[in-house]
């Protein structure tokens, strides 16, 4: 028998929270639900590592911090298609972890920036 992985530990706590939620009411029940959803984010993040995807997408612009800084100081044009495509890629990676059921995530996934 092998010991449980991080993902399996998270799933165990999720199961427990589901059970606890049924016993709770009001604010505590709501927070148990939120806590369960939060663990689902953690599990997806462990599997997908969106920060790396975002960093790679923005590498041609010097990385995340440099791209942000250049948008702030006007060196990057917010209508630059290559920039928009890179930002879209990072956003999709993050949203796939944070809320893959979000309507704008699906719509942005389905629509390429020409």
């Amino acid at each position: 028998m092998s010991h449980p992985t991080a993902a399996q530990l998270i799933e165990a706590v999720q199961l427990f929270l589901k059970e606890a939620e049924g016993e709770l009411t009001g604010r505590l029940a709501f927070h148990a639900k939120v806590a369960g959803n939060t663990l689902a984010i953690v599990n997806r993040e462990l599997a997908q590592n969106p920060e790396t995807t975002e960093a790679e997408a923005l590498a041609p612009f010097g990385g995340v911090a440099a791209a942000c800084e250049d948008l702030r100081n006007g060196r990057l044009d917010p209508s630059d298609k290559a920039l928009l495509r890179a930002i879209r890629k990072g956003v999709l990676a993050r949203c796939a972890v944070d809320n893959p059921r979000y309507a704008s995530f699906t719509r942005l996934t389905e629509r390429e920036i020409a």
Partner: protein, 339 residues
């Protein structure tokens, strides 16, 4: 928008327990009628305010009232007495609002609060956006919202001249928001994209009217015939009409009904037409981008409450991850022109 940490909450009476007598005395003093308090119950506790249902007998007549007061530490919104004043004047202009019964004074020891009439209606937007009994209401709502805003915005600035309200151009509002974003020190590429996109587009002309400042589905009461009241005037300020219209179209208030850009119930075309045609689709688009970005700032702020230890909370931590929902909205809006 950013909550300040400067003020500490002063201990005040609890309207449910030791504050009942003070509440009764306040209603009696303001109404000049015989008042008997029957019951007080907590309705909801938001981050910045607490709301109670108060059942009173006024001159022997059962009267349901609402007592709402500022709660929690650090608070940047308008004092309730000023909000009450704006509420009353908005009512006179024809905006559906509750009637103000009384405003607390420090001697009441009840905090900064207002007592108003209880208007019937559903406050939970996910319910009135979904339930079939509100289908007819949803049909009317876009025109009713446009009409309420048109009446509010039509009042000249002199109507509010004696009140200490914040005022600024769109460009100044954006600048304030950007300063707040930089103070947080985070890098969200889609947010910087939106700031850069908005910067040359925000109007630099001064404010022309009073805006509600938080005109969205979650701040309406809706009954079967539509909009019965516009609540929560805490963020009211002087600006331009399109700010209220754009905020109403932000994705966060559609509660999943994303095909209906106006609050989850209407179309932009219908909104602009019912408003009277003085706001263009381009202007609405700019303020819609601004509105979505502003909601993104709120997500960052709520996450910061948890991360900084100011308000440790699983709910606030989780809202921090809604930052990427807004990033998706903003990227879509800027890349494709509408959402």
């Amino acid at each position: 928008m950013p909550l300040s940490n400067q003020q500490k909450a002063v201990p005040v009476l609890d309207p449910i327990t030791d504050g009942k007598a003070a509440l009764q005395a306040l209603i009696q003093r303001s109404s000049g009628k015989a008042v008997q308090l029957q019951s007080v119950a907590a309705l909801s506790g938001g981050a910045s305010s607490a709301t109670y249902r108060v059942d009173a007998q006024i001159d022997g007549k059962p009267t349901p009232l609402i007592f709402q007061r500022t709660a929690g530490e650090g608070h940047d919104g308008l004092p309730r007495s000023i909000q009450a004043e704006v509420l009353q004047r908005a009512g006179q202009l024809g905006v559906p609002v509750p009637s103000v019964i009384a405003t607390t004074s420090p001697a009441d020891d009840l905090g900064d609060g207002v007592i108003s009439t209880m208007v019937a209606g559903e406050a939970l937007a996910p319910r009135w956006l979904r339930l079939p009994e509100y289908a007819a209401a949803r049909e009317k709502l876009t025109a009713q919202c446009a009409e309420a805003l048109a009446k509010l915005h039509a009042a000249p600035l002199s109507n509010w001249g004696d009140l200490p309200l914040k005022s600024g151009s769109g460009a100044e509002l954006l600048e304030g928001m950007f300063t707040y974003y930089r103070d947080l020190g985070v890098d969200v590429p889609a947010y910087d994209l939106a700031f850069a996109w908005l910067k040359p587009r925000m109007p630099t002309s001064p404010a022309t009217c009073l805006v509600h400042g938080d005109f969205r589905s979650g701040n309406f009461l809706v009954d079967e015939s539509g909009l019965s009241a516009v609540l929560d005037w805490e963020l009211t300020h002087l600006s331009v009409p399109a700010e209220d219209l754009g905020w109403l179209c932000a994705q966060a208030w559609r509660f999943g009904h994303w095909q209906k850009p106006v609050g989850g119930f209407g179309t932009r075309e219908e909104l602009l037409q019912a408003y009277g045609g003085s706001v263009s689709p381009q202007e609405l688009h700019i303020w819609e981008v601004y509105g979505n970005l502003k909601w993104g700032m709120s997500c960052l702020q709520l996450a910061q409450d948890h991360v900084s230890g100011r308000v440790p909370s699983v709910e606030r931590a989780a809202i921090g991850r809604r930052v990427s929902e807004v990033a998706a909205d903003l990227t879509y809006l800027i890349a494709f022109g509408e959402l």
